[in-house]
Amino acid sequence: MDSTTIIAVASIITAGITTGIGSMMPAIGEGRAVSTALDSIAQQPDAAPTITRTLFVGLAMIESTAIYCFVLSMILIFANPFWNHFIAP
């Protein structure tokens, strides 16, 4: 295998693994956060606006790790710098 093939194989496999792990772990975290928030709202319905707002901000924070992984795998597939380096004459 020449170096271009190795880079392509490594990039594609890594992109898949990145998106896989990067969507599993934040999903677990977000599920825990939402279930805890629902418990709290069920116990104290008066505090629902505060809990909802804090939940949204927290979910955005957790979600951003998943987005980082997604952006990284997009870079690996569509804008791979190493690939461009070897393809360029």
């Binding site: 606006p49 505060t50 707002r53 949204f56 901000v57 955005a60 924070m61 979600e63 951003s64 987005i67 980082y68 997604f70 952006v71 997009m74 569509f78 804008a79």
Partner: protein, 235 residues
């Protein structure tokens, strides 16, 4: 496949170019500014108002209450900045139901510009509220060991703001494009509806996070003022 609207270039001269992002952003700015001007040209305080005025009043009151709930006691001072961010991102994301429209927020340059606005506004409001010394002292909280971490967090949260909005909007467009080639009949509609929901939530999160950051920078001064107020009331 085009990843971002940056890659469609209409006009280029040297390193200056005019791409789809810039064109759409200017059109949006014209739409928002012109629309607001037309609506607010004849405001009245009668019982019966025009429907557009009612929409704007609802929006402004809602945003004012949200900003107040986060902890900024004088929302009027911060409304112009935060509300402008929110309205721009919401309109930019929601207009994606129009065919051939591409949201400018799906380009990293737009979201970086918005995040840089937040990055600059935090010390601006912090110094305006607290004075230069007071603001710089907030970097030394709780003690001076935390100084590098405070500076890192300042930079990394700006990066996170930019990449979060960009990633969400780009992935929405990308999923619709991929589904169009796999199952073109029904699923793209569902996913673009989901994309609009994501757009509104991301705009809300962007505005709320900007509010939270500004609150954190101005909180010390507000607490001090409250303490002084209380001591003068009791004394």
């Amino acid at each position: 496949m085009r990843l971002s609207p940056d890659q469609l270039i209409f006009w280029e001269y040297g390193f200056i170019n005019i791409n789809l992002t810039i064109v759409i952003t200017w059109l949006l700015m014209a739409l928002l500014a012109g629309g607001s001007w037309i609506i607010t040209r004849k405001l009245d305080s009668e019982i019966k108002t025009t429907r557009w005025q009612s929409i704007l009043e609802m929006l402004v009151l809602l945003m004012r209450d949200q900003i107040k709930e986060v902890g900024l006691k004088q929302p009027r001072k911060y409304m112009p900045f935060i509300a402008t961010l929110f309205i721009f991102i919401v309109v930019a994301n929601l207009l994606s139901i129009i065919p051939w429209y591409e949201p400018p927020t799906a380009s990293l340059s737009t979201t970086t510009a918005l995040a840089l606005c937040v990055f600059i506004s935090v010390p601006f409001f912090g110094i305006a509220e607290d004075g230069l010394r007071g603001y710089l002292r907030s970097y030394l909280q709780p003690n001076f060991i935390m100084l590098p971490f405070n500076i890192i967090s300042e930079v990394s949260r700006t990066l996170a703001l930019a990449v979060r909005l960009f990633g969400n909007m780009m992935s929405g467009g990308l999923i619709v494009t991929v589904l169009l080639s796999i199952a073109p009949f029904f699923f793209p509609i569902i996913m673009s509806a989901l994309g609009m929901l994501t757009g509104v939530i991301q705009a809300y999160i962007f505005a709320i996070l900007a509010t939270v950051y500004i609150t954190a920078a101005t909180q010390d001064a507000q607490q001090k003022k409250n303490k002084n107020l209380k001591s003068t009331q009791h004394g």
